[in-house]
């Protein structure tokens, strides 16, 4: 990987205070409102409690917001002529995607870290293994959504597309069983959407796959291969599409 490029990208991101604030603080705010202050958050769930379950959902959501934003911005920047400039260099198309995806994951670590600290302070608890593995899954899995942002921006070629992609994330988060527990047909559809795989994987170390319902009924469990297959397929599809779209971005827009 081109570490010089990555280093300069990190520096650019730190200079952009406004987006830094929203990317880091907004998901933390959502967690405080929806997670930490709810009743019954101390109830036990698998290897942790409800507060930890909600905290991990919000951390995953925060990571997705951050990575989609970074990916989308990268797409817009490519279309504003930077893609042509890079097209004059030996940097492979995949090299660009790798740098931006890595940057997105690094950026996503910020809201995840902040939410984790807030969670720990407000009663989220679980085994050490549950904490560590869940946060690791959130960090690594977020790369899929960097690709999602990149694809959305490159495919529709506008800043509006990036906003639309961020809006889509909210819908996908509902469908992904992130905000409220789903059941029935909606749950069946949900299993094919990318945030379902991501959130399920993130919470797997806590729940061991057991599905949580609103009314306490038993919805069964997802074996580990369900989220892994979901994320793997989405990652492959979006990765290929991103490289193809980056190639197209060398021509004049």
């Amino acid at each position: 990987m081109n570490t010089t490029y990555l280093g300069l990208e990190v520096r650019r991101f730190v200079r952009d205070r406004a987006s830094l604030f929203f990317i880091v603080a907004l998901p933390a705010f959502l967690y405080i409102v929806f997670g930490a202050t709810q009743d019954g958050s101390q109830a036990s769930v698998g290897n942790g409690n409800v507060a930890l379950y909600i905290m991990l959902s919000m951390a995953a959501y925060g990571a997705v917001t951050a990575t989609v934003g970074v990916g989308g911005t990268a797409a817009v920047e490519r279309m504003q002529g930077w893609g042509r400039q890079l097209g004059l260099t030996p940097l492979p198309d995949l090299g660009f995607v790798v740098v931006k995806a890595t940057l997105a994951v690094l950026v996503a670590l910020l809201p995840v870290a902040l939410i984790s600290v807030l969670g720990a302070l407000t009663g989220a608890s679980g085994t050490a293994a549950a904490w560590a593995l869940s946060l690791l899954a959130i960090a690594i899995g977020s790369v899929v959504f960097a690709l999602f942002g990149l694809c959305a921006g490159l495919a529709f070629r506008s800043e509006a597309a990036v906003s639309a992609a961020s809006g889509m994330v909210v819908i996908l988060a509902f469908l992904g069983n992130v905000f409220v527990p789903l059941s029935g047909t909606l749950l069946t559809i949900a299993k094919f959407t990318p945030l379902y795989g991501y959130a399920t994987l993130a919470r797997y170390p806590v729940t061991e796959g057991r599905l949580i319902s609103n009314d306490g009924s038993d919805l069964g469990t997802d074996p580990l291969w369900v989220p892994l297959l979901n994320l793997g397929v989405w990652c492959a599809v979006l990765g290929v599409v991103a490289v193809l779209l980056v190639r197209r971005g060398r021509a004049r827009q």
């Binding site: 010089t4 300069l8 930077w82 042509r84 400039q85 097209g87 260099t89 030996p90 060398r250 004049r252």
Partner: protein
């Protein structure tokens, strides 16, 4: 142009063949309004060490042709080779680089950071400080790109193009948006780079730039090469000199008509135009003979002879793209 320099490009190997070889190149874009053909069939060979201007009005197909040369766009048909390589391969092996008219920069990086970033994509880039100095950017190194003027940003793009120490440097309207001083400085820098033995191909619609800097001018209009030769050749081929004079007021309408017909038949006259006031303009290949006829035989007065400027040549060439090619090497499809 054969001067070698320690930090110049690697000497072109004979086996490489021409620096640029374009064969029957065409490009058609699909738009909502239908298909638009930007390039209709360009054949062009450029040897290593040449400095070539691609001259043409806006929309002539210059940028599209250069994009295909750089592998930024694929041709609809025809072939492109750069030192015997496919364009993307030539880019990947740092044989060619370019200053693009629409090459974007990242506004939140500094000048030096931008150079470092692009340098990191090459295996053996020129030293960043050296490139900054050659492009005259040393004093601006720590300035944010967003705070740089248009001319300064253009110098930055130029610095980026120097990083691979390319054998071929492609410049698309490199001085667009620069003031006179910046333009002069830029070409002085370019002269220094060409003297290192680089092949330089630049697109421009400034005739004086083509005239002063290039060894060879390729005139492109409507997606075709309509003339190809040295600056002097292009100038003389297209227009020669223009002889103007006022016909005697005593001539009747019929006599005036006869005179114009006679002038048109004169072997030294290429074209004859007249206005209502009796002023004639003869574009002449033999201006002396035409002047003699006008003064002695016709009795015209207020005679003036103007040497054809490159501008005249350019207008003459580009406004009549249906005329036969002026160069034997030009492809046959041009004489539509």
């Amino acid at each position: 142009m054969t001067t070698t320099h320690p930090s110049g490009p690697t000497a072109a190997r004979p086996s490489d063949g021409p620096a640029v070889a374009l064969r029957s190149l065409t490009k058609t874009f699909r738009t909502r309004a239908g298909e638009v053909t930007a390039v209709r069939g360009i054949d062009l060979t450029i040897q290593p060490g040449e400095v070539v201007a691609v001259l043409g009005p806006n929309g002539a197909g210059k940028t599209t042709t250069l994009d295909m040369l750089l592998g930024l766009t694929d041709p609809t048909s025809g072939s492109v080779e750069v030192f015997g390589l496919a364009p993307r391969r030539a880019i990947a092996t740092a044989r060619v680089s370019a200053v693009l008219q629409t090459g974007g920069l990242l506004h939140d990086l500094t000048v030096a950071e931008t150079v470092r970033l692009i340098a990191s994509t090459y295996r053996h880039p020129a030293p960043v400080d050296d490139v900054l100095a050659r492009a005259g950017l040393t004093d601006l190194a720590s300035r944010l790109v967003s705070k740089c003027s248009g001319g300064e940003q253009q110098r930055l793009r130029f610095a980026l193009a120097l990083l691979p120490e390319p054998d071929l440097l492609v410049l698309d309207e490199p001085t667009a948006g620069m003031d006179v001083t910046a333009r002069r400085d830029f070409w002085a820098t370019m002269h220094a780079e060409a003297a290192r033995g680089r092949t330089v191909v630049f697109a421009t619609h400034y005739l004086e730039e083509a005239d002063q800097f290039a060894d060879r001018i390729v005139v492109v209009a409507d997606g075709l090469v309509i003339a190809d030769g040295t600056t002097a050749e292009i100038r003389s081929r297209a227009s020669g000199r223009t002889v103007r004079a006022t016909l005697p007021e005593t001539l009747s309408f019929e006599e005036r008509h006869q005179t114009l017909v006679a002038l048109r038949r004169h072997p030294g006259a290429a074209s004859v135009t007249a206005d209502d006031s009796g002023r004639v303009a003869v574009v002449a290949t033999d201006s002396d003979a035409v002047a003699r006829v006008l003064l002695v035989d016709v009795g015209a007065h207020d005679l003036e002879v103007v040497t054809g400027s490159l501008d005249d040549a350019f207008v003459a060439l580009t406004s009549a793209p249906t005329s036969a090619p002026t160069d034997a090497s030009a492809p046959q499809e041009e004489s539509r």
